[in-house]
């Protein structure tokens, strides 16, 4: 090897040392990539082993159609109330985050001056970096009391001649300490940065030539933003939506703190009533089991894996969906 290095800079001689070094680097990098795959496979295997063991004791039909989740007290393993809790938080947080996040993205990409952008983008990133436990705390300590203090006024806004039928009208005399509404609000706020930053990337990628074409036809800035730039960036926007929704589905800490631990089937037809009350998501139920004493044994413990498997299937489906949408709507400008 020393002979090779002596041969100098100008030598065309292939250095065995360099070749071996390159090969080593290549393998180290490949090992890191393979590690992530192995971990994913490991998680799936661990989850599915215990989950199958659970489903051999409790029929999957009972699990997926049962309307009562009470693993410790009643040994009742119906997952529907948990799915309902998850869906309520997901839907209402999406109602908050998707429009606001897209509007923020449009502002950042189309309207904001460089100065405004230089303040707003880091702020959004800070919002994304707030630990979720703080969001849960905020919901519990600030959001719920704040809404509670406004609610009596809102009830007065309903004209007296409107008949109040509790099954159909959204009348909330007061919020529970734990409630789905404030949980949805903070999860919504939590996922706004995800929607806005990915959407903004998509909007900024729309070429200026399309904006010029729009302005040249006598479009206002709003016309150009909403009728040209947004439709041209559909794939990225939808991808941001799906990722944000996945995040809302998987969110744990904030919903556990803000929404409590009482599994609740939706009230039909007035699902809004669920917002005022405590509920439990799939993730919160897993936290509850993991925190209990029964670790390591029994169907209750294994139910955690069945829930994990269910959650994993839902978020995996969402991610696949995001990828399909991205491919379907991708535009070559």
């Amino acid at each position: 090897m020393s002979k090779e290095s002596e041969s100098g800079v100008g030598s065309l001689q292939r250095s065995g040392f360099v070749v071996r070094k390159e090969r080593l680097y290549g393998r180290l990098i490949a090992a890191c990539a393979v590690l992530t795959i192995l971990i994913t496979v490991g998680i799936i295997l661990a989850l599915s082993g215990r989950a199958l063991s659970f489903w051999s004791q409790i029929s999957p039909i009972v699990f997926f159609t049962g309307t009562n989740w009470s693993p410790v007290i009643a040994n009742s393993y119906g997952v529907l109330p948990l799915i309902s809790g998850t869906l309520i938080v997901t839907v209402f947080s999406a109602l908050i985050a998707l429009p606001i996040g897209l509007a923020a993205a449009i502002y950042l990409s189309e309207y904001a001056s460089d100065q405004a952008r230089s303040i707003l983008k880091p702020s959004l990133e800070i919002l994304a970096g707030v630990p979720t436990v703080i969001y849960g705390y905020m919901a519990l300590v600030y959001v719920t009391p704040m809404i509670d203090s406004v609610l009596p006024f809102s009830a007065q806004l309903i004209p007296p001649w409107v008949p109040v039928i509790p099954e159909f009208t959204f009348v909330m005399p007061s919020l529970g300490t734990f409630n789905a509404l404030s949980a949805s609000i903070v999860v919504g706020i939590m996922i706004i940065p995800m929607v806005s930053s990915i959407s903004e990337d998509a909007l900024s990628a729309v070429p200026d030539s399309l904006r010029d074409a729009g302005y040249g036809l006598g479009s206002t800035k709003f016309d150009v933003s909403t009728q040209i730039v947004v439709p041209s960036a559909t794939s990225g926007i939808v991808a941001s939506y799906v990722l944000a929704i996945s995040r809302a589905i998987g969110e744990t800490m904030a919903v556990t703190m803000a929404m409590g631990m009482s599994p609740q089937m939706p009230y039909f037809p007035n699902v809004l009533k669920n917002l005022a009350e405590s509920s439990q998501t799939i993730t919160a139920a897993m936290v509850q089991i993991a925190g209990a004493d029964s670790l390591g044994t029994g169907p209750t413990y294994e139910a955690m894996f069945a829930l994990g498997m269910t959650l994993f299937a839902i978020t995996l489906t969402m991610n696949v969906l995001a990828e399909l949408v991205r491919r379907r709507f991708r535009e070559e400008y």
């Binding site: 010029d212 302005y215 479009s219 009728q227």
Partner: protein
């Protein structure tokens, strides 16, 4: 050919009462710039440009790169508003109204003055929606499909796309895309169509189709075209303006005069290819 259109502009036609060897269809001035200076930051892009553009003629703007011809074009419909550092001094009058007056709405102005860009830029929408876009945002209350068909026919594209109006405009070839952009620009029936080197990104066959098209459009619209291609200017334009470096309009006359007997030696040198 259009008595009704020329009637209200008698006053301006008197001002330009120049007689030409090849009489144009009308001598009404539709656009007039006076002492127009444009700056990008500290750099001057146009220097004291005054010219009158006549209705229903094809006016070509030629000159070497960076001479300000595209800048002049974009001043007419205020596309330069989008550039922060751009500053305009002087007047550009459209139908007797200075478009840089404070009370002029640039959006309304651009609805009367369409523009076609160098690189075809159809929206990632269907062919139909591309052409209908301008109608939609301008609140067109007639039969949209009929107007789309008319515009595509005017742009000599109808026969090629009539069976695929719902497919994406991006699936067309470059030349077809540019004709689609022309159809899109003329669909809302503007008075003036600006063209910023519309054929420079196209192959010669596609370019010659666009040239034929511009010839046809001149009967109905005022066309102002920036081109690098002097043969193109000679073939399709009625009047030619030669910009030379420094953003100065050096000579502006009938195309035949510019190409056969220009007044300035520098223009002759440019046209015969001695520089540029």
């Amino acid at each position: 050919m259009s008595e009704s259109d020329s009637a209200p502009k008698i006053q301006t036609s008197i001002e330009t009462g120049k007689t030409d060897s090849a009489p144009p269809e009308t001598e009404d001035v539709v656009i007039e710039s006076r002492s127009l200076d444009v700056y990008y930051g500290d750099e001057q892009a146009l220097d004291d440009v005054s010219m009158e553009i006549r209705e229903r003629e094809v006016t070509a703007l030629i000159g070497p790169s960076g001479c300000g011809k595209s800048t002049f074009l974009r001043c007419i419909n205020r596309m330069n508003d989008m550039i922060d550092v751009c500053r305009v001094e002087g007047d550009v009058e459209f139908s007797g109204k200075n478009v840089y007056d404070d009370n002029v709405d640039s959006v309304a102005l651009r609805r009367k003055i369409g523009i076609v860009f160098q690189k075809p830029n159809p929206f990632p929408k269907s062919i139909r929606d591309n052409v209908a876009y301008g109608l939609k945002i301008q609140g067109f209350d007639g039969d949209v499909d009929e107007r789309v068909e008319e515009s595509l026919k005017e742009a000599a594209l109808w026969d090629e796309v009539k069976d695929q109006l719902d497919s994406s405009g991006l699936d067309l070839s470059g030349g077809q895309q540019q004709r689609l952009c022309i159809a899109r620009a003329i669909a809302p029936d503007p008075e003036v169509v600006l063209m910023d080197e519309p054929t420079s990104a196209l192959d010669p066959v596609a370019a010659s189709k666009i040239e034929d098209l511009i010839d046809d459009l001149a009967g109905e619209y005022t066309v102002i075209i920036v081109t690098h291609n002097m043969q193109q200017a000679a073939r399709i334009s009625d009047r030619t303006a030669v910009f030379l470096t420094g953003g100065r309009l050096v000579e502006y006359d009938d195309t035949a005069t510019i190409f056969e007997d220009p007044e300035h030696q520098r223009v002759e040198d440019y046209i015969t290819g001695k520089f540029g």
